[in-house]
């Protein structure tokens, strides 16, 4: 536990007077996939954004490699090699796929751009075919691939993925999850995954957290959580 790459300690965040996060503790150890599941409005995406400093944590602290990043500006956090594939993808619709990927490499000063480009095209060959197409003309699945590829262009040490399966056909979602799993196994990429698709997320993850109303109610190994009756009842059998 002391080796955690990212750790959140008693983090609270507010939208005006409304508390969205009420003292969250999360540990993401290096080399693992950690997932956070929860219902709509539980505060999952807020947590993801709070790691990036918007909204800023009001109390508690966020440590990355033991360094307190709670009060760093968003772009400085990104420069620490934390990359995010945000909720709703947020690709740049009028810019081409290639330009989107260039934006992803902004923090590396383009030191190894060609190499990284080849790598993400290997992972997502579809993007190579679409390289000169505008981001907005891609299908939902391709846009999600682009969002992940863009995040990978910065050679992240920690990848934050916010609902990568959102709005995707089950088959495409499965492909996305398997890519994430491969990146973790082959390259040791640390991943923090926020998902509604509890089954896939927990199966993939080494460790899982369950969030309800801005608080962590359960945590444990991914498969272990998957076996728990409370989790099954709330997020698997009833919800799906």
């Amino acid at each position: 536990m002391s080796e955690a790459m990212l750790s959140l300690r008693g983090v609270t965040a507010y939208y005006g007077a409304i508390a969205a996060l009420k003292g969250v503790d999360i540990e993401v150890p290096a080399g693992e996939i950690v997932t956070l599941i929860g219902a709509n409005g539980a505060g999952k995406s807020t947590l993801m954004m709070t790691i990036f400093g918007a909204p800023r944590a009001r109390d508690g602290s966020i440590l990355f490699d033991g360094r307190d990043i709670t009060h760093l500006p968003t772009y400085e956090i990104a420069r620490l090699k934390i990359a995010q594939s945000p909720e709703g993808r947020r690709i740049f619709p009028r810019m081409t796929v290639l330009e989107n990927l260039q934006m992803g490499a902004a923090v590396t000063q383009f030191a190894h751009f060609d190499e990284d480009l080849r790598r993400v095209f290997d992972i997502f060959p579809r993007l190579k075919d679409r390289a000169s197409q505008r981001g907005g003309t891609l299908s939902g699945g391709e846009q999600q691939m682009l969002a992940i590829a863009r995040a990978l262009m910065s050679r992240p040490r920690l990848l934050l993925l916010d609902e990568p399966s959102l709005g995707l056909a089950p088959l495409i979602a499965k492909q996305i999850f398997s890519v994430v799993g491969e990146l973790n196994r082959n390259e040791g990429l640390t991943v923090f995954l926020v998902e509604q698709n509890a089954y896939h997320a927990l199966k993939l993850a080494h460790r899982g957290y369950v969030m309800v109303n801005g608080q962590i109610t359960m945590s444990g190994g991914g498969l272990e959580l998957l076996e728990r009756p409370e989790v099954r009842a709330a997020y698997l059998e009833g919800g799906r």
Binding site: P93, Q102, M103, A106, K128, D129
Partner: protein
């Protein structure tokens, strides 16, 4: 038009006729009291005078106009194809488009020496080019960075007054003042940028609008410094690298063994603004391919995504404001040296609106589109000078027309700033399967 369509339209024509008839009835209701009855001063006080023929004309016009619109633009089946250009035509246009820019530049360079070109034409071309340059400058802020700036003329004013005051009080030459004016304008750009960093869209537009007005009102009221409404006169003319355009023995004409002509200075001014405009264009095109230019465009698309990719949005916005303002400053000092006289009247909101209209009509972010729009708008404005105030109506109608048929501006396609150089041939062993 769905809300006007009857439940069971027997035919499109009948539906259109019916709709036009209802519209005519509304027009009758409005026109009868407003146009049909006129109060006239009679011997026994006011009396009403009927003018039913006017009502008939108005109602008839409304009926026919509505019918014509119903049968053409507003036809239910016309909506899909209206804004589309056939792919064949589009392809031809694209091929022509590649040649358009070089030909236009060549024409612009040759313009003063073309047969039949008089002083008036060159003067008009100078005016047009000033707006082309302003359009390109504002394009950085609005078109690339997506920051709606309604007070752009403020920086134009800063540039103009910088040159006028520096030249008058310190006797500095145009070539020294030009960079100084640019720097001062950029400084004001940053100054405006700071308070509006967190604003976007409508809110940003309002603040920049106010900023433009503040600058103008300060110029108007700071009497001892700016001359207030009297403006500043006797601004030195530019020299040809030290040679004045005067008939004397050390003037431009005498030095080069030419016969003196007042046209020399006009032509010189023309090439000066042409060079300034082309520099603006060149710098913008180069910047678009650099990380900063890409960051501007990404900022326009999605600010939050930008920030989480490690882009410092504060610096990115400020550089956009500063660079846009700098080019306005250059254009401003050119304006001052050309006119020889400036006053706050030249820097009213209408100018900002005009420049913004050029950028929007040209197609935000498109360099060629902005140039075409500037030529069309400023040139057209001059061409229809005879029509006095009516030209504003024409102007409005043209703008509505463009927005209907080309809603994203004249040139709406965006040129990618980068292309994939290597071809698609990668070894099969490198391609992982099943993730596409």
């Amino acid at each position: 038009m769905a809300d006007h369509a009857p439940a069971h339209p027997s035919s499109p024509f009948m539906a259109a006729l019916r709709n036009a008839f209802i519209t005519a009835l509304i027009a009758l209701g409005l026109a009868a009291p407003m146009m049909g009855l006129v109060t006239v001063q009679g011997p026994n006080g006011l009396r009403l005078e009927p003018h039913w023929e006017r009502v008939a004309i108005a109602v008839g016009l409304v009926f026919l106009g509505r019918l014509a619109l119903n049968l053409t633009i507003w036809r239910p089946d016309a909506g899909r194809t209206r804004t589309q250009i056939p792919p064949r035509v589009e392809a031809t246009l694209a091929r022509l488009g590649r040649w358009f820019a070089p030909v236009a530049v060549a024409l612009a360079v040759a313009l003063p020496f073309l047969p039949g070109v008089e002083r008036y034409t060159v003067d008009l071309a100078i005016l047009v080019l000033t707006y082309v340059m302003l359009g390109w400058g504002l394009n950085i802020v609005v078109g690339l960075a997506g920051l709606l700036d309604l007070g752009y003329v403020a920086f134009y004013a800063v540039g103009a007054y910088s040159y006028a005051l520096l030249a008058q009080h310190f006797g500095l030459s145009f070539w020294v003042c030009l960079p100084l004016a640019g720097i001062l304008a950029a400084f004001w750009g940053v100054l405006l940028g700071f308070p509006v960093l967190r604003l976007r869209g409508d809110y940003l537009a309002i603040v920049t609008l106010a900023f433009g007005e503040i600058i103008r009102i300060v110029l108007l009221n700071w009497y001892w410094f700016t001359g207030g409404p009297n403006g500043i006169g006797g601004i030195p003319r530019p020299s040809f690298f030290g040679l004045d355009f005067t008939p004397g023995p050390d003037g431009f004409a005498a030095t080069f063994g030419l016969k003196f002509s007042p046209l020399h200075r006009i032509i010189f001014l023309y090439y000066l603004i042409l060079a300034l405009a082309l520099i603006t264009n060149f710098v913008t095109i180069r910047l678009r391919r650099l990380p900063i230019g890409r960051a501007w465009e990404a900022l326009r698309e999605d600010e939050i995504a930008c920030r989480s990719l490690g882009v410092n949005t504060v610096n990115t916005k400020l550089t956009a404001f500063a660079l846009g303002a700098m080019f306005a400053g250059f254009a401003g000092s050119f304006f001052a040296t050309r006119q020889g006289f400036i006053s706050p009247e030249s820097f009213v909101f209408m100018e900002s609106a005009m420049i913004l209209a050029i950028v929007v009509l040209g197609g935000m972010g498109s360099q060629i589109g902005v140039a075409i729009a500037a030529v069309a708008m400023i040139g057209g404005f001059e061409l229809f000078r005879e029509f006095k105030d009516y030209r504003m109506i024409v102007f409005g109608a043209v703008m509505v027309g463009i927005m209907v048929w080309r809603p994203r501006g004249l040139v709406s396609s965006r040129t990618p700033s980068v292309f994939l150089k290597e071809k698609k041939a990668i070894a099969g062993s490198l391609v992982q399967e099943g993730h596409g």
